[in-house]
Subunit: 195 residues, 2 copies
DNA sequence: GTCTATATCCGGATAGAC
DNA sequence: GTCTATCCGGATATAGAC
């Protein structure tokens, strides 16, 4: 995303990304026009192209930044001792990270088909890397006998899907607090893998 | 969907729906044009409007028919005795129904935001009704002591999400047969609710 | 029942003034 | 750095011929 030095660049650039993220998440990439994004930011449509070469790149950058931030955040956690606790740490981490970024999460799995093939491949690689983080934990627990898992890959996908499903119904200020949700899902996951 | 009597109506009408379903699932509602659908069917774009008043209604009809078929199919199952077996029946049913209709499944949860508010409400009601079918089974098992569930609603959403996630990675002729998948998920679900 | 032609509008992206 | 004006293509939906 090319960015020229100068007056409002530091404000307008992030504002464009924020607006695009919000609008893409709400209405879908294909249904949102560059004019809408510009209007939300308060600039003319032409000004957007000072910050992004095109609409596709704007989408890709949003998704790419989200996925790399997700991976970096998990890799920056301090592993707790014991694979069972490490799994619980993953669950709590995942819920925290995703509840804080509902729009980016929405994009990351709803707009894959609006990426060009090359961009799609890049995001898929990152997504697969995140799945592998969980699968690594499950495989370790399986080897040590801490877990009893029939098929590691299927269990990985099942748990990721279960956790990802939270965003469908979660609302700030709803019936369940974030901590309560983390407790409930920690227990669901634990039961799924415990011997 | 208005339909005039006459020569090719019985062929073209379903052909339009088939093409629209396939294209919407592949590229997304907003990214597919009426011209594309018409070309896929082999008619001019204008001819589509003999079978649907507009693009939105075409989308809604596809989603609505899928959801009502889903509910009808479940309600038509002969309940097995015992709530634990009934839950296993739900898992096998869900997997069968959804694996057979990948495109419709995709639409039903990816294109919700492209529905008008009124159409959205109608589909949401049906979706909620399906969730309630599962929740009813879980609640019954909880009451009889057959299951040990901390929060029935959360467990319902967690299991639905887990099952829905299959479509993300399932491929015909892949590593796992349908029966194998049903067995694996049956066990995952069983562990999630068993006392 | 379908086609061709068209009305009308809106999309992404660019050029040049300020 | 942003605005205004614009190019150009393609969208939905309709009208009238066959």
């Amino acid at each position: 995303m090319a960015r020229k030095a100068g007056s409002h660049a530091d404000i307008t650039g992030p504002a464009i990304r924020d607006a695009a993220l919000r609008l893409f998440a709400r209405s879908g990439y294909a249904a949102v026009s560059m004019r809408q994004i510009a209007a939300e930011v308060g600039v003319g449509a032409g000004a957007l192209y000072l910050y992004t070469p095109d609409k596709q790149t704007l989408l890709f950058d949003l998704m790419h930044d989200h996925m790399t931030a997700l991976l970096a955040a998990w890799d920056a956690t301090v592993p707790v001792k014991g694979v069972a606790l490490r799994l619980e740490q993953f669950v709590a981490f995942h819920i925290d990270f995703h509840i804080d970024r509902p729009d980016a999460v929405f994009l990351a799995y709803m707009e894959l088909r609006n990426l060009t093939p090359k961009n799609f491949a890049a995001i898929e690689t990152l997504r697969r890397a995140y799945e592998d983080r969980l699968e690594t934990v499950l495989a370790e627990g399986q080897e040590t006998g801490a877990f009893a898992i029939e098929d590691t890959r299927v269990t990985t996908m099942a748990l990721i899907a279960m956790l990802a499903g939270i965003h469908v119904w979660y609302r700030d200020g709803g019936r369940l607090s974030r901590t309560r949700i983390q407790t409930l899902y920690r227990d669901l996951v634990r039961r799924t893998v415990s011997p």
